[in-house]
């Protein structure tokens, strides 16, 4: 089977934004140290990939990049923890008790609740070009607003933002593209994948590796961070796009995994 390699991208978001670069504030950690990766938890990680496959495409190597801001709330928290009260109402109105539901006659408590929630949708919407939240027939869910929290998960009001943005947890860093030598030479084939996440959009980057291409290759991570600033008395987030180069080293060692520490031919 394919070998899933995880590359955690740990970023001190505030420091990287202040410095205008990632080099001194990024730490990459993968789960292939036992295979020979070097520079774990530094900016100089070289991810080792065993290249020789004992069977076929079935044991292809897959890289997964997972960005994490130092100061993020734990990613193990359930997604609903991050939703604002308005967003929870939106879900309730859109999915649980849709206003078009014939079971909820006009004037009923459920319909009233839905109407209130629809009003709050307007404040939760971020982009003007989003489809109308009224288009329920198409099962459209408007973009959901996240709670404003500090690192203990305590709710922060809008007024507390003034002069104290340091308390806010930053939105998690996003990988927006992967380019560079390893991509140009068709060593890795990166793409963005999604999972059914309601508000973070649940996107992640993954790549398969052409392990015939033995050697060390650079690739460039395109990362967007978000910088807080005051806009009309509220905190808004300005995207800051930065890049960083990392490396993979494809060897002609035989593929191993946790079940087969000594390389050997698997039975067919």
């Amino acid at each position: 089977m394919s070998q899933q390699l995880a590359i955690l991208i740990m970023i001190d978001t505030a420091a990287a934004i202040k410095a205008g670069n990632l080099a001194d504030h990024i730490y990459l950690i993968d789960n292939a140290k036992w295979v020979g990766s070097t520079g774990e938890a530094t900016a100089n990680l070289v991810t080792a990939v065993d290249g020789t496959r004992v069977r076929s495409q079935m044991d292809a190597q897959v890289l997964n990049w997972l960005p994490y801001g130092i100061g993020d709330l734990p990613h193990s928290l359930p997604q609903s923890f991050f939703l604002s009260p308005a967003a929870k109402k939106t879900i309730n109105a859109t999915l649980v008790h849709p206003a078009s539901d014939p079971q909820a006659p006009a004037g009923s408590a459920a319909a009233d609740e839905a109407a209130t929630a629809t009003a709050s949708v307007a404040t939760a919407r971020v982009a003007a070009d989003e489809p109308s939240p009224h288009a329920r027939g198409a099962q459209h869910i408007p973009r959901l607003e996240a709670k404003r929290m500090d690192i203990t998960g305590a709710l922060l009001g809008k007024s507390k933002a003034k002069g104290n943005t340091a308390l806010y947890t930053y939105p998690m860093p996003l990988v927006t593209n992967i380019t560079g030598e390893a991509v140009d030479k068709y060593v890795i084939f990166p793409a963005q994948y999604g999972s059914p996440d309601l508000f973070s959009k649940g996107l992640y980057w993954s790549a398969t590796v052409d392990t015939n291409k033995v050697g060390t290759y650079a690739y460039t991570l395109h990362i967007t961070l978000f910088n807080p600033y005051e806009k009309d008395g509220e905190v808004a987030w300005e995207p800051v796009a930065l890049t960083f180069d990392s490396y993979i080293n494809v060897t002609n060692e035989a593929t191993r995994n946790g079940f087969l520490k000594v390389p050997q031919m698997l039975p067919a």
């Binding site: 001190d12 730490y27 789960n31």
Partner: protein, 137 residues
């Protein structure tokens, strides 16, 4: 006063396979700009001041693996500076450890971390101590 996060990245599979956290624990904080050192090692030195709020959380290298911090052990002689406590994110079963620096540190304060990993029956502890450092220490 600052909020400082300390993230313990644990290679759960590596720690269980080798029955040690040595080489399988990477500690990172977001205070390098103010003088924290040894980022990415198991002997992180975090620079702190009176009033700073510290939060320790855990992140596993493989998202399928389970890890949580079972304890942060600080010698009782340092209780005048810091007494970490376990807390829970409201409405969830996800825990974190938190402490407020009660007094400026005039000596380094070492601590040890204990983790619960996957279905391992007992906690597993660090064998080397990360430190908290005051501005003068």
């Amino acid at each position: 006063m600052k909020a400082i996060s300390i993230v313990a990245v644990v290679d759960v599979v590596g720690a269980l396979a080798n029955d040690t956290l040595t080489g399988n624990l990477y500690l990172l904080d977001n205070n390098k700009s103010n003088g924290s050192t040894d980022e990415g090692t198991d002997v992180l030195k975090t620079r702190v001041k009176k009033g700073d709020q510290l939060v320790w959380v855990v992140q596993t290298l493989e998202c399928e693996a389970y890890a949580s911090i079972a304890g942060i052990d600080v010698d009782s002689k340092f209780a005048e500076y810091i007494e970490p406590q376990q807390k829970t994110y409201q409405g969830t079963n996800v825990t974190y450890w938190s402490a407020t620096i009660k007094k400026d540190l005039d000596v380094p304060v070492p601590y040890n971390l204990r983790f619960r990993l996957a279905s391992r029956a007992s906690d597993i502890a660090t064998s080397s101590s990360p430190l908290l450092l005051g501005s003068a220490a």
